[in-house]
């Protein structure tokens, strides 16, 4: 059980971090002046939500499997297939949670408007510098929302994870799968325990992060 808890936390944290790294530039690019192409990409970003997780997992399994060119490529890079490994789980979670990170970020980026960027440019800040010193600090709320949604969603997700993870203890058996197993095998007492624990844990974590963010924002105003 401890295995599963650690694995879950590791997966959720890693997914959130990776999605921050991937999602921030993507959302920023999408938030810049729009066009049909961007709107199409933005729509694509939401697509992982359309498919039921198990079905998405099924397609990922095929895409990452030995029959697909992508899977062969990845296998040759990583030395072994990524399916049924923790890395595979991370890839699946990242794809599935992409909209959770990108959508709130894009909205926040858009709400900043062009004035702060213009001001920063006249003060000799390069676009990259502006991004880090102006855009990101002004987007704290969006970053927080995106991270919380991603983290929480990864905690609860099991369809994709079950499919490409293969439920291997210590490697791909996360809490959500364990919980599901208990419900299915009618061991409800254990299911209640995990569900309660996860809810309490997430509640406390999210609330603390929210309060910390609020305080630090207040602090920077002193």
């Amino acid at each position: 059980m401890l295995d599963a808890i650690l694995l879950t936390l590791k997966l959720a944290t890693l997914t959130t971090l990776i999605l921050l790294i991937l999602g921030i530039p993507l959302a920023w690019w999408l938030a810049q002046s729009r066009g049909l192409f961007k709107d199409m990409i933005a729509t694509l970003v939401s697509m992982p939500l359309v498919l039921p997780p198990t079905v998405l997992g099924f397609y990922l399994l095929i895409a990452l499997g030995p029959d697909s060119p992508l899977g062969q490529l990845l296998t040759s890079i990583f030395g072994a297939p990524l399916t049924f490994t923790f890395s595979g789980l991370v890839i699946g979670s990242v794809i599935f949670s992409l909209p959770f990170m990108v959508q709130p970020l894009r909205n926040t980026f858009e709400s900043i408007g062009s004035r702060p960027l213009e001001v920063a440019a006249t003060l000799r800040a390069s676009p990259l510098d502006t991004f880090f010193s102006v855009v990101l600090p002004l987007s704290r709320q969006g970053l927080l929302t995106g991270s919380i949604m991603t983290f929480v969603h990864t905690l609860g997700e099991f369809g994709v994870v079950l499919m490409i993870g293969g439920n291997i203890s210590g490697e791909t058996k996360v809490l959500s799968i364990a919980m599901y197993d208990y419900v299915e095998s009618l061991e409800w007492g254990k299911a209640h325990l995990i569900a309660g624990g996860m809810l309490c844990f997430s509640f406390i974590v999210i609330l603390s992060v929210t309060l910390m963010e609020r305080n630090s924002r207040k602090g920077s105003r002193l």
Binding site: F58, L61, I62, L64, G65, P66, D67, P81, T83, F84, L162, M163, G166, N167, I168, Y180, D181, V183, E184, S185, L186
Partner: protein
């Protein structure tokens, strides 16, 4: 609305038996005025749903345990009967060696072996028994577990697992790959129970289908789909 005319029965079918059940319903409807609606799900889910008042008249489960529990808990007036017994096979898409038995599991040819989750799926439990009886751990391959027998088959069919313990039913209609029937001696029989629920007691359609299941016509269909049916 959820109340159907009396000549329609809803049967809850364990996922692994869905296709067979649909075929049976079709045959049944040809010879009677009744209609059958099939709802599939994992046996665990169906059990919970029935306890919570799901409008099912008949349950075709994947095991005997849960129908028995439902009967004990008063959700049915008659005990379950075995409508089918599942057969476990070792299957591989690419490895011809599986046809010659369990020895392949000791070779280096297999890196990943898929079974259904022994905790939730009867075929998983059976596969675990086979492994426990014939191979000592640690296994030379990684054991991956599908949520149910369908996922297990998908693992192997997509090439992600080199071999899998699946149900005969899954490969009965599709002659791809290589299969080896696991001797019945290596695992406890996978009896699947049919339970006429209290709700179906007053439903002529449910009764009729319940009786139809025990006809030879039905049994031959069930056998055709890879189950043992006496």
């Amino acid at each position: 609305s959820q109340y159907l005319p009396a000549d329609t029965a809803r049967i809850a079918v364990s996922s692994n038996f869905t296709i067979a059940a649909q075929k049976l319903a079709l045959l049944f409807e040809q010879t009677s005025t009744h209609t059958i609606q099939v709802s599939s799900g994992s046996t665990g889910k169906l059990y919970i749903q029935i306890r919570q008042g799901a409008p099912f008249d008949l349950l075709l489960a994947a095991d005997m345990e849960r129908p028995q529990r439902l009967f004990d808990e008063g959700y049915a007036n008659t005990a379950a009967f075995i409508y089918a017994t599942g057969k476990l096979v070792l299957w591989s898409r690419d490895l011809a060696e599986v046809s010659s038995g369990l020895d392949v599991l000791k070779s280096k040819a297999i890196r990943r072996l898929a079974i259904a989750n022994p905790k939730t799926a009867p075929y998983g439990k059976a596969a675990q028994q086979v492994l426990d009886n014939s191979i000592s751990s640690p296994y030379p391959w990684t054991l991956v577990k599908g949520d149910n027998i369908a996922q297990t088959y998908q693992f192997a069919a997509s090439g992600n697992a080199d071999a899998a313990f699946v149900a005969r039913a899954q490969i009965a209609l599709d002659q791809r790959g290589y299969a080896w029937d696991v001797p019945q001696s290596l695992y406890l029989p996978i009896h699947q129970g049919a339970l006429l629920l209290k709700r179906g007691d007053n439903n002529p359609a449910a009764h009729a289908f319940y009786r139809f299941l025990q006809t030879d016509k039905a049994k031959s269909v069930i056998q055709h789909y890879g189950y043992i049916s006496q």
